[in-house]
C-alpha cells in the first residue's frame, strides 16, 4: 500500500472508473481547470479525452438532467458540481427526477453519481461555502456519501458508481491534503457502513466528512484529559449506519454528534433523534449537537473562525457531558 492524499484518491478513482468502463463519463463545470476541481481531476481530460471529460456550460439544471437521461439510456455518468451552492439550480433533476425514478418506474434505478464539492472558508462568503448535505439526506431514493479519509474517498466513489443509484458523493476541499494509505487496485467501501476510528468507553463522538476528522482530533484532546472517547465516522449519511451508532452509544451511554451543516433540521438532529429513540434507557445524558449556527456563512476570516466548529468545540461539548454526570452523581 502507498500513501495518497484525499484529492489524489478521488482522481485515481475517476481514472480507474474511466479506464475500466467505457460507459463512464464525467460532465460538469470546470473539469478542465484546477481552479474548480483542485487536483482531484487533474489531467484526466488529456488522458481520457474531452468527449468523456465534458467541461460543460454553466447550466447546472440541464447538465444534471442530461446526466440523468444518459444514465437511463445506459451510460454511467458522474456529474460534477464544483461548489454545492451551485447545485441548488439542479434540484429538479436530482430530487424530482433521479430520486423518484426508481420507485416510480418499476425496476428502473438511475445509475448516476452526482459529485458535489463543499468548498468553504477563504473568505468566499455565503454562496461559495454551504454544506447542504442535510437537504439531500431528506430525500427518499437518494443515497448520500461523504468520505473523510483518502481511503474512503476512493472506495466510496467506486461504490457509488457500482450502485444502482442515484448517489450523491460529497467531498470537502478542507480534506484534500489529508493523507492516508490507499490500495492501488480498484476497491469499494460499502455504502451505508460507518467506521469506528477510535475505540473508547466514556462517550461516542459521531461525525461525517470534515467533522469526522475533527472528532478524531477532539478524541486526542480528550485523551490527554483522561476522557476515553469512541469516534465513529459515518462515511455514508443516507442511509446512515444506525446499528453501529446505537451499539456504540448503548455501551458508552453518552454521545456528541458533530456536523458541518446548520443546526435546525440538520444531519445532527436526525442522528440525535434516532439515538434517543433507540437507546434512551441507556443514556446518562442528552445527546449533544455541535453544528454550525443557524446563520449564513460569513466572509471575513475572523468571523469564519468563530462560525466553523472544530475539535476544540467538540471536546468542550464532550467534557460538559462527562462533567454533568459527575456532578449529578455527587448531588
Amino acid at each position: 500500500m502507498r500513501t495518497l492524499n484525499y484529492a489524489q484518491a478521488i482522481r485515481e478513482a475517476h481514472a480507474q472508473l474511466l479506464a475500466l468502463d467505457s460507459r463512464v463519463f464525467v460532465v460538469g463545470q470546470g473539469l478542465w481547470s484546477p481552479w474548480y476541481a483542485g487536483s482531484s481531476l487533474e489531467g484526466l481530460d488529456r488522458e481520457f479525452g474531452c468527449a468523456r471529460m465534458v467541461d460543460s456550460p454553466v447550466s447546472e439544471n440541464a447538465v444534471t438532467g442530461m446526466a440523468v437521461g444518459a444514465a437511463l439510456a445506459g451510460l454511467r455518468p458522474i456529474v460534477f458540481h464544483p461548489r454545492m451552492d451551485f447545485m441548488l439550480l439542479a434540484m429538479d433533476p436530482i430530487v424530482n427526477q433521479a430520486a423518484n425514478w426508481s420507485y416510480l418506474f418499476a425496476g428502473g434505478g438511475v445509475p448516476l453519481v452526482i459529485r458535489a464539492v463543499i468548498n468553504r472558508g477563504g473568505e468566499q462568503g455565503a454562496q461559495h461555502s454551504q454544506a447542504l448535505h442535510a437537504m439531500f439526506m431528506h430525500v427518499p431514493g437518494l443515497k448520500v456519501v461523504m468520505p473523510a479519509t483518502a481511503y474512503d474517498a476512493k472506495g466510496l466513489l467506486m461504490a457509488a458508481l457500482e450502485d444502482p443509484g442515484p448517489v450523491l458523493y460529497i467531498d470537502d476541499r478542507w480534506l484534500y491534503a489529508e493523507t492516508g494509505e490507499v490500495p492501488v487496485e480498484p476497491f469499494t467501501v460499502a455504502i451505508g457502513e460507518a467506521a469506528v476510528r477510535r475505540r473508547g468507553s466514556d462517550l461516542t463522538l459521531i461525525g461525517v466528512s470534515w467533522m469526522a476528522a475533527e472528532c478524531v482530533r477532539a478524541a486526542g484532546i480528550l485523551e490527554r484529559e483522561g476522557i476515553d472517547a469512541e469516534v465513529i465516522d459515518l462515511r455514508t449519511l443516507k442511509p446512515w449506519d444506525k446499528q453501529l451508532v446505537a451499539a456504540s452509544v448503548s455501551r458508552t451511554r453518552r454521545a456528541v454528534v458533530a456536523d458541518g451543516g446548520w443546526r435546525t433540521a440538520g444531519a445532527a438532529a436526525d442522528i440525535a433523534a434516532e439515538i434517543t429513540e433507540r437507546v434512551f434507557d441507556n443514556l446518562l445524558a442528552p445527546v449533544i449537537r455541535v453544528t454550525l449556527p443557524d446563520a449564513p456563512a460569513p466572509a471575513s476570516s475572523a468571523e469564519e473562525t468563530a462560525y466553523y466548529p472544530g475539535a476544540e468545540r467538540i471536546a468542550s461539548a464532550a467534557r460538559g457531558l462527562v462533567e454533568r454526570n459527575v456532578k449529578r452523581v455527587a448531588a
Partner: protein, 305 residues
Amino acid sequence: MVLIRRAEERIAEMVESGEVRCPCHLYIGQEAIAAGVCAALRAEDTVWGGHRSHGHYLAKGGSLTGLFGEVLLKSTGCAGGRGGSMHLAATEVGIFGTVPIVAGTVPLAAGAAFAYKMRGEDTVAVAFFGDGALEEGHVHESMNLAALYHLPLVLICENNLYASHMHWSERRVADNLHRAGEFHSVPGERADGNDVGEVYRAARRAIERARKGEGPTLMECRTFRWRGHVGASFDLDVGVERQGELAEWLLRDPLKRLTDQLIERGVGDLALREQAIDLRISGAVAAARCASHPSPAQAEAACAR
C-alpha cells in the same frame, strides 16, 4: 389516432364517474401530433413526455392494459400503479418515463441523445412538451447543450395556446415559439398540429436531420386541447371558459380530417377497425378493474435498493 381518441374518451368517462381519481390531463384534439411524430420514428428511438402524455405513450406503442392499469393505480399499470396518469413508462417501446414537472424530461431527452451519440448509434430522442415549457430555463439550457454537442434530439412543442389556464398572450409578447431555438442555433419549424400528414412530414425531416448527426430541431405544432387543463370537462379550464375558441377548433378536428381523407381515398373498413379498437379498450378496462393495487411496502423497498 382513433386509439388515442377512444381510449381518452373512455378515461374521461371514468374521471367523470369518479372511478379514475388521479389527475388526468387529456390529449383529445392534439392526437395528430403524437401520431404523426411517432409514425416517423423507429422502435428503438425514445420518446419523452410530460403530464399530458397518454397520446405519446399509445402512439409509440405502449399497451392499453398498461395505460388503464396505471390510471386506476393497479399493479398491472405501466408504472406498476405507483405513478398514475402523469407517470407512464414503456421501456420496451422507448418510453423511460413521463413526468409532470413542466419540461422536466427535456434535459433527460438530451441526455439520452448524448448517450446515443457517445455510443455511435443513430438512435434519436424526441422530447414532447407544451407551449408553457418554453418559459422554463432548462429548456433553453437543453437547446444550447443539444446544439453544442450536435445531439440527435428533436424538440416537439405542442402549442395548444394555453399553459394551464393562461392564454399565450398573457404569458408572452410575441407569438413566435418556433423561433425559440434561434439564439441557440437550433433551427425551428412550424406545423399545423391538427394535420397528421403535415406533422409527419415535418417530423421526418427533423428526425432524419438528427439521425444524420446534424443536431437538434425545434418543431412548433399548433393545436388546441378540447378538454380542460386537467379533468374531463369540455369548456371549463381551471376556472376559465374557452367555449368560443373551442367551437372554432372543433371544426378543425384532426381525426375527422384524417378519416375524411381516408374515405376519400377509398379506405373502406374504418368502422370495423374502430369497433376492434373499442373492443380492445373494453378488454383493457376490464383487466385493469380486476387487477390489484400495488403493495405499500414496494415504496420503501424501491428506495432501499
